[in-house]
């Protein structure tokens, strides 16, 4: 698993650097900036042309050295990789956090709460609501609401931002009851309660767009899944024994499907991290997704690699932990014979 993460991170580093092209852009930028700074500085005006040229050369060399540009790309990429794997995320090239820090860690941490608020609230609602609704639908399949859910499940073909457009149009543009985007009102209220309410008001539209776009398909999937399990012989047996539907559900349907439910819940928790790049962009939600998008626009390799590495780590850790959880909840998986993808 560690090998997987290493390769994935290295690939990201390679792509994010375009095999060295970004360096050329950065070099040119350094040359321009340094030359400009020295020529514009009145303290250096008395120097001769040669002395100025010499000064510019040394300054450029120092700057390139600082950013590590004087090493060959292969060496540098390995260095990036080592730093990334040890979670030493380094400093951003151009981007700054709102407090002005260039530490990638701080930039990402600053945006994390907003992303978790959006992804967490919407995904948890979808997850629990769909399992709950799916269970009740599977109990009486073929009913009116069951058919409605099936009919609506193709709506999940469209991504959240797509519904976001419609929601913005209806609630922000036409009815003017909810804001177009952003995290809080501007200026932001001082009172923590008002601040919270304002955030909540801004959260409604992006969160509902995520929910609308995923919930029907999710319900449909769980419903089919539960139906397949509820036609197993042992469920029929339990029914024949005259157990209450609640008992059947808890002990004969939910129990054997628990590993699957846990897996999808764990994977859901990981996807929370990456955020919804486009949804955040459309709603101007100041989360990680929009940060990643901006980082790519600024050619800010450390930030891009930083968010990828954390994603990769979380995925690896989750897959690793899942093996243990399986062994705990599913007696069919014996420790030693299971192992899945982990090495």
């Amino acid at each position: 698993m560690m090998v997987t993460v290493t390769i994935a991170v290295y690939l990201t580093i390679l792509i994010a650097n375009m095999g060295g092209y970004v360096d050329t852009i950065m070099r040119n930028e350094i040359r321009d900036n340094t030359t400009q700074a020295i020529l514009a500085n009145p303290n250096y005006r008395s120097l001769s042309t040669e002395a100025k040229a010499e000064l510019i050369r040394t300054k450029i060399a120092t700057e390139e050295n600082r950013l590590g540009l004087n090493q060959p790309f292969a060496v540098r990429s390995i260095k990036y990789l080592r730093n990334a794997l040890t979670l030493n995320l380094g400093r951003a090239i151009n981007m700054k956090s709102d407090q002005g820090s260039k530490e990638v860690r701080l930039i990402l941490l600053e945006r994390l709460p907003a992303t978790l608020l959006l992804t967490g609230s919407s995904s948890l609602i979808v997850f629990f609501a769909s399992i709950f609704i799916a269970l009740s639908l599977s109990r009486k399949y073929g009913s009116f609401w069951d058919k409605v859910t099936i009919a609506f499940s193709p709506t999940s073909a469209a991504p959240p931002w797509f519904y976001g457009i419609f929601l913005i149009l209806i609630f922000a543009a036409v009815f003017k009851i909810l804001p177009f985007g952003g995290l809080v009102d501007s200026p932001s209220p001082d009172n923590p309660l008002e601040y919270g309410l304002s955030v909540l008001k801004h959260l409604i539209l992006p969160a509902s767009s995520v929910i609308i776009s995923t919930i029907f398909f999710s319900i449909y999937n769980w419903r089919t899944f539960f139906l397949i399990y509820s036609s197993e012989d042992y469920v029929e047996m339990a029914k024949a024994k005259g157990l209450t539907p609640r008992d059947i559900e808890r002990r004969y349907i939910l129990r054997p499907t628990l590993p699957t439910i846990i897996t999808s819940f764990a994977l859901l928790l990981i996807t929370l991290w990456t955020g919804f790049i486009i949804t955040e962009t459309v709603f101007l939600w100041p989360g990680l997704g929009i940060t990643l998008f901006r980082a790519i626009g600024f050619y800010d390799t450390p930030v891009i690699v930083g968010s990828t590495i954390i994603y990769a780590y979380l995925l690896a850790i989750t897959v690793f932990l899942l093996d243990f959880v399986y062994a705990l909840v599913d007696p069919r998986v014996k420790v030693g014979s299971g192992g899945g993808g982990a090495q």
Binding site: T4, T224, I277, A312, L315
Partner: protein
Amino acid sequence: MTALKNSIRDLLRYPSAILGSVIILFLLAISVYALITIPYSEAVRLWRGGEEIWYQNPKYAAPAWFNTFSSKKEPVSFAVRTTDGSMSKTTTPSSDPEISSVDITYSFDYAYDGVPQELLIYFTSQYKEKFSFVSVSWITPDGRTIRIADMAASSKLTFRFSQDQKLQKRLKTEHVMQAIFADPESPTQAPLKGQYQLVISGTTFEKDATIDAEFVLHGELFGAAGTDKYRRDLLLPLLYGTPIALAFGLLAALGTSLLTMVIAAIGTWYGGWVDELIQRITEVNLVLPFLAILIMVGTFYSRSIWLMLGVTILLSIFSGSIKTYRAIFMQSKESSYIEAARAYGASSSRIIFSYLIPRMVPLLIPALVSSVPSFVFLEASLAVLGLGDPVLPTWGKVINDAFADGALYQGRYYWVLEPAVLLMITGFGFAMLGFALDRIFNPRLRDV
């Protein structure tokens, strides 16, 4: 053949399949129409064109069919010209062979509740040395004649009614449109409805000199789809976006599912290190953030839609579904007909392509159809992020332009809604068909 017939008969039992197929056929028809009427290079030229191509259109005009649903009728744009006969022109020679007079008139019914954005006349005249002379006047439905302008027509002359200072002075107002359309009796200055007439009388002072004119009314509404910030007719990207969206969606879905299946089959068949390698690549790929990499490729390398398509397929091949296919291939690898093929000495490639993969087609087709919408939306998503193909008119590009211009804040809903509705129709069409196919080909789902 009978199997196919049976599948089609099964398919017709599902209303969602019929609706989905109708939608897809309709989109295909639009695509064919768009590709035939507008060649690729022409579409790119029009889409990239500026003022010189689209000068006839107003900016930010909503579609003309808005009037059908609105009680307040807004003026619909039009353009007429003498060169194609939509505006009448008569030339009468005088006693002097050098001098002749040209009369251009155009009458139109104006039954709208608002005034147009602008009226323009574009004169083109041919002469050697002596300028031709034109005078323009305007006859309102109640018979008043308003003198608009008298001027010498150079070879290319554009006359804008509301920008002309002499006309403003003569009408004693800066709102020229109000002044020439308003009913003098009405206290609210509502436009006078009825037949207006534009009269251009010109005089040429050379034997072969000519005057041609083009009269353009920039209303609040335009055509079937409206226009954007750059006066472009939105019908072009809406029409031309269809084949692009379908091509991207279908190619990506086809490429991804076929390659995934072939690779899964090869891995399972050969086993050993091949299988191991494929498994490892899949794991690496699962860790890579898909959209972030696509955005990086778009920002750093090229935004060409075909490169994006390639990268999308490449990143989607080694997806989770390779594991599903692998599990199924593992079962069929052991079945007796494969054993028989092996016994008669069939080559590995023959077994893979003639025995293993055809078995999977029933699974492949629904998966393929159902994955089309996600790719169509992916293309639109990239365009919305500003990473759409820079030269092609696509639906996502229209949404992106509209967002960049704050169309929703300014109430220009048609600009966002038209491409969004098309996207939605496309997505639902494929999703519904795929859904029905899934139930037909996976009998396990049929009862539930």
